[in-house]
Symmetry: C2
Subunit: 454 residues, 2 copies
């Protein structure tokens, strides 16, 4: 067994691990930073669906690069940490004993598959959306000559996969337990618009139903249908389980590190575990929601990166006071030329969490005047606290600018701005790039809430 | 003379007047709101350049609409207020005596022309960029069959005009007093990138020079050249003076309302003049910069709209505490497929104003991974205070998302966020819509500043 030494050891080479390593190296340039990662080629996770359609077309176009990290002087080691001596500060792969001073878990997440379906993964033609190039390549190769693809799950990954597959000429059915798709991220009226695009593209949506069993009628271990709880049988040449992810904490559990809610590693606001030399960032860590303060299942590379920056600057003492507490659910997607995005809590989530909220919305165009050639409809909905008017959520439908516009809403939430401040917020508007100055939709949605609060 | 009565009288039907009227009506639904405006057809000011190229092609495609205002129950009157009895609260047009309770000046701005050139406006072929359909139509008709167009001025309007004109097949020269174009809005390295696009499009830029005289060689009152201070003679079939705007305060001055710096109507933070029944909003009001607190010449429909909302909710007492003080210069433009935007102060402005600042920048892509088909370079520069790290300015180059991304920077400035907060800011990222989560450029620029402050 080879002995290796480093100051800061990071387990995991995904977005959280990479950002943690680079931040640590930047902040402590004299420290030796080592990243242990399992895969030589690391997929960019959020672009995996685009491997399945013409957007990217192959996994080789979805590879992350370590070039920046290596250039900074960060070491990387291919391998899997199988055990850790927390007391002695040594991590063990099959071949190496790695001595460290500080340790960051960035072990990410694994596809979540419901217990009742786990055995079906043994069948040919049943796949999860793993963040693993070999498995994704295998999936893509399998469905290459197949026609009927069934996607189980109506989150972003499932819907983006379905849209890519239909664009690629497949026959696609999506199965979901909710009445509408993307219900976790959007209120019904927004989800419904996304669903319309899905249906218009030719995808069939079977909602309000759940999978009872994945079946191989011929008993040949090749899946060829999905049996639903309703009794319905849906034929399938291939089945993709896009039913979410769960924290990958096998190693942490094994070495006795405490877990938090939803199986993530328990961490404080500076991403420290109970042992202040051990940190966890990204999908493997347990999270609380910024607004409701309830345990959060949100897994996003962007918030993981934010956590990784907090950890990477707090390894040897807290240098920067953390200004916020909790994870803001903040995401966007693009379906058939229309972007959908959300930040904070939806109206439905807020009400379920017992928050007394008022909502306002505005529908306009993303250019001005309306005659600008690429003008497209833009819809903004804001959710605010009835008392004080603090913005706690927003949803936007529109053109590609929506991807950055939701980050304005995210900033408003993080800055704890209220609708009265948003009313007179100073923004840039330009005919070719934005809505009109007189009816900037974020402002107008805030004004609508003000009207109701008066 | 006809007697009219209203509660709230707004003089001016541009963006500021319109928003003031609608906000007032929304906030005081029982009050009678009347807008007096001069033009039946009101141009959308920021899109005027696009009338001159194929983007819009005609002024009919650049008309604002009063439909929303009328629907809300706001009255409008075509006419020009020529005098006001402040004591008696009566405004006079040629035909009407309008009795009011509260008055809002939203008289906008007029093209600024240097004294030495004002007489040249009498020549045929010399035009300003007035926010007036008749004059714009006249200009467009005149240049229709002309070849060589000279644009004087290197602000947004001048540059956008020049780009539209060259796209329309004209031969275009731009004359400016600075070494580079757009110097007011951008630091040199950013302005230089904009200038490269200008030059690549075939426009000739004559910088570091000023106009001495506009000449009609034939003595026929038809302008055919511009003589520069350097002695250079530039031939021209038509000359467009895009040398900025000045507050339109003729009426306010006449009736004895105090003016502030740069000739704008003096107002407090709630847009009240010394007489608290009289307000002024938009380009006709005097402004201070949000950061430097110095008098500001910035004129933007977006900040005018923000001011109009403040006035519209403060007419009968202050209902909403204003959370900020001063105008944030915040704008964007699009030149040849590349968007440029700026918020707050530039590095050069900050230094000139005596602010002790640190800057950081990051260059990446606006999609991730780099293989996403429409990926485009994205550059973000941030300006922060050395002490405390508060963000006070930002400049962005990129795709169309830049138009909304600068509004994130604007929000950070307004929220007084510092680089340490931006480091762990939670944003949404998506392959088709934004940069990578691991290297979101606003965050990365902040991280670069943190490194320098350490």
């Amino acid at each position: 067994m080879e002995n290796l030494n480093c100051d800061i050891l990071i387990i995991g080479g995904g977005p959280a691990g990479g950002v943690a390593a680079m931040t640590a190296k930047m902040n402590y340039p004299q420290k030796k930073v080592l990243v242990v990662r399992e895969y030589k080629e690391q997929l960019v996770p959020c672009a995996i669906p685009y491997i399945f359609g013409e957007t990217l077309g192959c996994s080789e176009k979805d590879l992350g690069s370590c070039a920046a990290a290596v250039e900074m002087g960060i070491s990387t080691l291919l391998g899997e940490v199988r055990d850790i001596d927390l007391q002695g500060k040594i991590a063990f792969t099959t071949k190496e004993a790695i001595h460290f001073d500080k340790l960051i878990f960035a072990t990410g997440s694994k596809p979540f598959v419901h217990d009742s379906l786990r055995h079906a993964l043994a069948l040919q033609g049943v796949f999860t959306v793993a963040k693993n190039k070999t498995l994704i390549d295998k999936t893509k190769a399998y469905i290459e000559d197949k026609q009927e693809i069934v996607v189980i799950g109506t989150g972003f990954i499932g819907i983006e996969m379905a849209m890519e597959l239909i664009g690629d000429g497949k026959k696609v059915k999506v199965i979901g337990g909710s009445k509408h798709i993307l219900k976790g991220a959007f209120d019904s009226e927004v989800a419904l618009e996304a669903e319309k695009i899905l249906l218009d593209s030719g995808i069939e949506y079977i909602g309000n139903d759940r999978v009872k069993e994945i079946v191989d009628f011929n008993g040949d271990n090749i899946a060829n249908a999905v049996e639903l709880k309703s009794g319905k049988i849906v034929n399938a040449d291939a089945i993709i389980l896009a039913t979410g992810y769960k924290p990958n904490t096998q190693l942490a559990e094994k070495v006795g590190i405490s877990l938090g809610h939803y199986g993530g590693i328990w961490v404080d606001e500076y991403m420290r575990t109970e042992n202040h030399d051990i940190f966890a960032v990204g999908d493997c860590s347990a999270r609380r929601d910024f607004i409701t303060k309830e345990p959060s299942k949100v897994m996003l590379a962007s918030t993981s990166s934010a956590e990784a920056r907090v950890a990477g600057t707090s390894l040897y003492g807290i240098e920067y006071l953390k200004g916020f507490s909790g994870t803001i659910a903040i995401f966007s997607t693009m379906l058939g030329g229309v972007a959908f995005s959300s930040a904070g809590v939806t109206e439905e989530e807020a009400k379920n969490a017992g928050l007394d909220v008022v909502v306002g919305s505005f529908s306009g165009l993303n250019r001005h005047p309306a005659t600008i050639p690429d003008a497209q409809r833009q819809f903004v909905k804001l959710v605010a606290m009835r008392n004080g008017g603090a913005i706690i959520g927003g949803q936007i439908i529109g053109g590609k600018e929506t991807g950055e516009m939701i980050n304005i809403v995210g900033t408003l939430i993080e800055a704890k701005f209220n609708v009265y401040q948003v009313m007179s917020m100073q923004v840039a508007t330009q005919p070719m790039l934005t809505a009109a100055p007189t009816s900037y939709p974020i402002t107008m949605a805030a004004v609508s809430i003000m009207g109701q609060l008066k």
